[in-house]
């Protein structure tokens, strides 16, 4: 099974703080990581590849430093990687991003001399939180999709996907080729060893610009190809001046809370 894994480099949202004076995100000094949902997509991709053979190729769109995200994937089982990077791609919203990625996927198939059976993405990136790029890649390529995957197994040339639903999960079978976005797995993503990490760091990551993607229409990329516009941003006021009951014995605190909730007509 030949697999294309789409990853994004994101700031570690655990490390993001809001400046109390300017009310803007403090991103300085915040480390970049591979989007956590993408690490699940990679782990399930590596397992599928280990079982059935084939290649796992990772692609990422972003600035030159996003090559580090691709190298992280190479260190835990991906066979090769491509960075999709150009000034013409900057400012893309999800429609333009998914268009660029879908065209890049075709170009990578040419370069690798193969056809992808499965395209894997994380459910969403933890910076934009849209969960739209995966399904939009599927639409551009006219492929079936399963989103919110919790596990994937191969079965008789098809895949079976465990998919999150409101009260549990569904098992869906889907013919290949297909696009699957992964929300989490019953097992943890593997860690690189010192050896695989060192090897990955030494690798050159080829960069694909619009010149390397023959079929791409540049007018559909970047801001020009993006129907949405950000009108403004603000940081939400999070600190509530709540009532905190401290140092009371349990029965007294419980009684007081029930009284407060009753008085507030919350029960």
């Amino acid at each position: 099974m030949n697999i294309c894994l789409c990853v994004k480099q994101v700031p570690d949202t655990n490390e993001i703080r809001v400046d109390p004076v300017t009310h803007t995100l403090v991103r300085k000094g915040v480390p970049s990581i591979v989007n956590p949902f993408d690490t699940y997509a990679e782990e399930v991709g590596v397992r599928l590849k280990e079982k059935s053979g084939g290649r796992l190729v990772v692609i990422s769109m972003g600035p030159p430093q996003a090559a580090a995200a691709i190298k992280s994937c190479l260190a835990v089982g991906a066979d090769s990687g491509y960075l999709i990077s150009s000034r013409a791609f900057g400012g893309s919203d999800t429609l333009a991003t998914s268009y660029i990625l879908s065209e890049a996927i075709k170009a990578v198939e040419e370069k690798e001399g193969l056809k992808f059976d499965l395209i894997l993405c994380g459910k969403q990136a933890t910076d934009g939180d849209t969960a739209q790029v995966g399904p939009e890649i599927a639409e551009h390529l006219n492929l079936p999709q399963v989103t919110y995957a919790l596990d994937i197994v191969e079965k008789n040339g098809e895949i079976q996907v465990k998919r999150e639903q409101d009260t549990g999960y569904d098992i869906l079978s889907v013919k290949l080729p297909a696009v699957v976005t992964v929300v989490r797995l019953p097992y943890e993503p593997r860690y690189p060893t010192l050896k695989t990490r060192t090897e990955a760091r030494k690798k050159e990551i080829p960069v694909l610009t619009e010149k390397d993607i023959p079929s791409i229409d540049v007018s559909l990329c970047g801001l020009k190809g993006s129907p949405t516009r950000v009108k403004g941003t603000y940081t939400p006021v999070r600190e509530k001046k709540g009532v905190k009951l401290v140092g009371m014995d349990a029965a007294k605190a419980a009684g007081e809370l029930v009284r407060l909730l009753s008085d507030g007509k919350l029960l």
Binding site: T13, K123, A131, P144, S226, T228, K231, R238, K240, M248
Partner: protein, 335 residues
């Protein structure tokens, strides 16, 4: 560029499964009503499903001026291919100016495929919607960076302007049985071979009657609960409140509860009236899933736990003592 003036009306997609509408569709009707009034345009419910005429009638009662109904056996369970095909066909025929979809797992599966096919903009998982006074466009507001930053997005030059809107953020309006409106039936059918996914099995892990995304009261436990066995305390409190049991990610990772109960960025987004966070420290990923809760109540032994920063009420203490006391106090109040 398409002629924007051809696009009229505000549409709300009413998600159904097995003939039954999910609450979020009716919530969106209530949220969209003031926007339709500002624009002076009709509010139209779009209902796709199997045996869903009642859902369409209810949509009128909940505030739609009319409804478009697509009914067929292929829509009993959600499939990407069938629902996307039907919705695209409707948009191309009627040309709505705005299309709102509930940001459920299915809504967020379907929405991007529809917007991508139509080459228009879609704003994900919105928590506020308004009309921009200057341009008349919809201003969609949504959390990003795990809830650390809010962004307002517009789609100025393409139609329909689309957004998925988070369930539970808006409340349903009153159901007015005297309201009347036209229900238009559209025959759109999808052949079995066009549907490229097959539902093999559905497994329900939540036994409560109300699922988390629609629950009005949720009692969630975290790592502090200590063991699967000790979740009896959480279940006991949930039972006396008539609430649904939730949990943090640590609990699922430890195998104490199935994933279906998980609340947060990698689990369910919830918007109950009352949210009890018991033994949950309040990691940003968990808080991202509960920003729609009206009232948050925290029980934690660590007075400095971040959960207290978002709590309306908090008890600092040992949950093994506080939760049984709280359950007893609530029982006493009821009797």
């Amino acid at each position: 560029m398409n002629d924007l003036s051809e696009y009229k009306n505000i549409w709300v997609f009413i998600e159904t499964e097995c003939g039954k509408a999910k609450n979020v569709g009716y919530e969106l009707l209530h949220a969209a009503k003031p926007l339709a009034e500002k624009k002076g345009c009709p509010l139209v419910a779009v209902v796709i499903g199997k045996d869903v005429e009642d859902a369409a009638k209810d949509a009128i009662c909940y505030g739609a001026d009319s409804a478009i109904l697509v009914d067929g056996p292929e829509y009993e369970y959600y499939t990407t291919d069938a629902f996307v095909k039907a919705l695209i066909a409707l948009v191309q025929k009627y040309k709505p100016e705005t299309l709102m979809i509930g940001a459920t797992t299915n809504g967020r599966d379907m929405g991007p495929r529809v917007s991508c096919h139509l080459k228009t903009g879609l704003t994900a998982d919105c928590t506020a919607i308004d009309i921009d006074e200057e341009t008349g466009n919809v201003a969609w507001t949504r959390p990003t960076f795990g809830g650390n930053l809010m962004a307002t997005i517009m789609c100025p030059d393409s139609r329909p302007q689309m957004g998925t809107v988070r369930p539970g953020v808006f409340k349903k309006g009153a159901c007015d049985k005297n309201r009347t409106g036209e229900i238009i039936r559209e025959e759109i059918h999808v052949a079995p071979e066009e549907i490229r996914t097959t539902l093999v099995e559905r497994v329900n892990e939540i036994v409560e009657a109300v699922n988390l995304s629609e629950a009005e009261i949720i009692v969630s436990g975290g790592r502090g609960v200590g063991s699967a066995e000790n979740f009896k305390l959480i279940e006991g409190l949930a039972k006396v409140l008539g609430g649904t049991v939730g949990c943090s990610r640590a609990v699922v990772d430890a195998g104490w509860l199935p994933y279906a109960h998980q609340v947060g960025q990698s689990g369910k987004t919830v918007a109950p009236k009352l949210y009890f966070a018991v033994g949950i420290s309040g990691a940003i990923q968990h808080l991202a899933g509960i920003s729609g809760a009206d009232t948050v109540i925290a029980v934690n032994k660590d007075a400095d736990a971040p959960i207290f920063g978002v709590a309306d009420y908090g008890i600092v203490g040992d949950l093994n003592e506080v939760v049984p006391a709280l359950t007893e106090a609530l029982k006493a109040r009821q009797s």
